[in-house]
Amino acid sequence: MAPARTESPEAGALAGSAPGRYHVLTRYDRRILMLMVGIPLALDVLLIWGPTIASIGFSFTNWSGIGPITGKNFVGLKNYQQLINGYTPFWPAFFHNLIWLAWLALIATPLGMFFAVLLDREMRGTRLYQNVFFLPVVLSLVVVGFIWELQFSPTEGFINNALGRVQSSNIIDWLGNPRINLFAVLIATSWRHVGYMMVIYLAGLKSVDPTLREAAKVDGANEIQTFFRVIFPVMAPINIVIVVITAIEALRAFDIAFIINQGKNGLELLSILITSNSISEASLVGFGSAIAVVLLVISLGPIVAFLSQVMRNPSS
């Protein structure tokens, strides 16, 4: 299957693992390696980074998505002005994403970390507890949405039945009332998010050098002191990963809100506004792209934080 191997010095040398050691790859090998990286990279650039850049470009136009895009379509910052001043769902969506982030960051993620800390100790049944908290993580958010609709449904759901609030006079419309439905959805989301965070944090805790803990104990630190003064600081890389995943999850939020009511009436989210403006209802490609750029700019924060964390020690 491979052509004859031709040893040619001009094919170039690749640095080996240790400085000063080189092995010569044939031209054929070099080409194969380039293809191995090049094909996936081309797809990634074409279908992910290309569209990302294109979104930025589209956001300065009033293009409808049909026909060619010309200089006449250029409208400058008009879409952004309209977004901030004239488009009513924008700020609610923006704040819903913010509330989503705050809820995950202040409630769900710390709860997952707390479970991890508790389960990190060798106690009977740890595996069982761990598996139970982790179970919702394997479910799709669509299924999570359906399962929680059975809890929150106004007349047939468990919660209102258990509270005895199923008469039309005292009913609680968990998913319909725009003042509370975001929180109902956040509870459902947290059901999944907590287990996710728990598993990642637990893996981090297991990798902490046990002698640190023993040393702290010898020095007379109690468990809370040991955690906050010794374990938490050495877990800094995992802490960053946890924060980043939490932020990304909050920005990606889409599925549950869409399942419940297509992201309207209290459940507006930036991600949903992008699709509803440029794909489903209208064809306001330029306007939808401006919302996409807002989401992109916010996302760059956690993405850069993640990259600078995990890429700090470059591949040797």
Partner: protein
């Protein structure tokens, strides 16, 4: 938090007798387990009750007509669920295999050889996977509508028809379109995880194989891939679940309801066939079953896949 403070020793065997802190800890954990399992239990309970029973007695009641799998049968047959499972399979199986192939190639080339742009390439892949899908969806939708794809017939099994490679000359509304975006999106994640794993493989293995005259393709396929089997198994488990659980890509990039994979079909079916909560519960649980089975049998791989990506870096 009081439970944390008091339970100092880490080995329960070393502590004779029952200590209140440990009891408190277990009580808390058991309470949380009950809270966590309850929504699932409630869904299972609703799915097992005949609708006539719940209409008569309400949902918060003991079963008066017994429990049965009748709702599952109704949903399975009437909503033609097997057909939607098939839709998922033709998207997910090639998706997982292609993702692992592409990602292992990139990871191999970037970790076993020192290129100038190694780090940049890995960053492009990793960052791409972290973008919210909605950021790219508008141009992607346009690309899908405007990329010509050959129409070379189809493979038909009953109602199911797998187009080779398109039935409308586009990527839009095609199985292969959904597979493609899954592969590209998840290659970013898989590359990140696999390259972390491959960094731990000694480069001397590759080096000595090259000195022995082996071609890089052979080294990749015969030496590095087998060494990465645990990581690949973990990734396969995780990728299967990710792709199986997808809602967004199928929602936006498919138009025909009968091409939808099971997860996204659930939303459509809920209005049409799942006319009451008992049937909704059965449908949702049936759709959730494959990932749950995967988790039960491959939980080690599943958790390894998630944590490989975050703890080694």
């Amino acid at each position: 938090m009081s439970t944390v403070t008091a339970t100092a020793p880490t080995r329960p065997a070393a502590q004779p007798g029952i200590r209140p802190a440990r009891v408190l800890l277990h009580a808390f954990m058991i309470a949380m387990v009950v809270v966590w399992l309850f929504p699932l239990f409630w869904a299972v309970y609703a799915s097992l009750r005949p609708i006539s029973d719940t209409i008569q007695n309400g949902y918060l009641s003991w079963p008066s007509q017994g429990l049965s799998l009748a709702n599952y049968q109704t949903v399975f047959v009437q909503a033609e669920l097997p057909y939607y499972y098939l839709n998922t399979l033709v998207v997910v199986i090639p998706g997982v295999i292609l993702t692992l192939l592409l990602a292992s190639m990139v990871a191999f080339a970037c970790t076993q050889f020192s290129w100038r742009f190694n780090l940049v390439v890995l960053m492009i892949f990793t960052a791409g996977n972290l973008l919210p899908a909605q950021v790219i969806i508008v141009p992607l939708y346009w690309i899908y509508l405007n990329t010509p794809i050959p129409m070379l017939g189809s493979i038909d099994i009953g109602k199911f028809s797998f187009a080779l490679f398109s039935d409308n000359m586009h990527l839009y509304d095609q199985y292969i379109g959904i597979t493609l975006i899954h592969v590209v999106f998840q290659t970013g994640f898989a590359t990140f995880v696999l390259s972390n794993y491959m960094k731990t493989i000694s480069k001397e293995i590759t080096e000595s194989a090259i000195v022995d005259g082996a071609h890089v393709l052979r080294i990749w396929w015969r030496i590095v891939i087998p060494l990465c089997r645990p990581a690949l198994a973990a990734m396969a488990t995780l990728l299967f679940t990710f792709m199986y659980n997808d809602f967004f890509w199928a929602l936006v990039l498919l138009k025909s309801g009968d091409k939808r994979p099971i997860t996204s079909a659930l939303n459509n079916l809920s209005g049409e066939f799942f006319v009451n909560n008992n049937l909704i519960a059965s449908g949702a649980l049936l759709a959730a079953l494959p990932p749950i089975i995967v988790f039960i049998f491959l939980q080690k791989q599943f958790i390894a896949g998630l944590t490989l990506g975050s703890t080694k870096g």
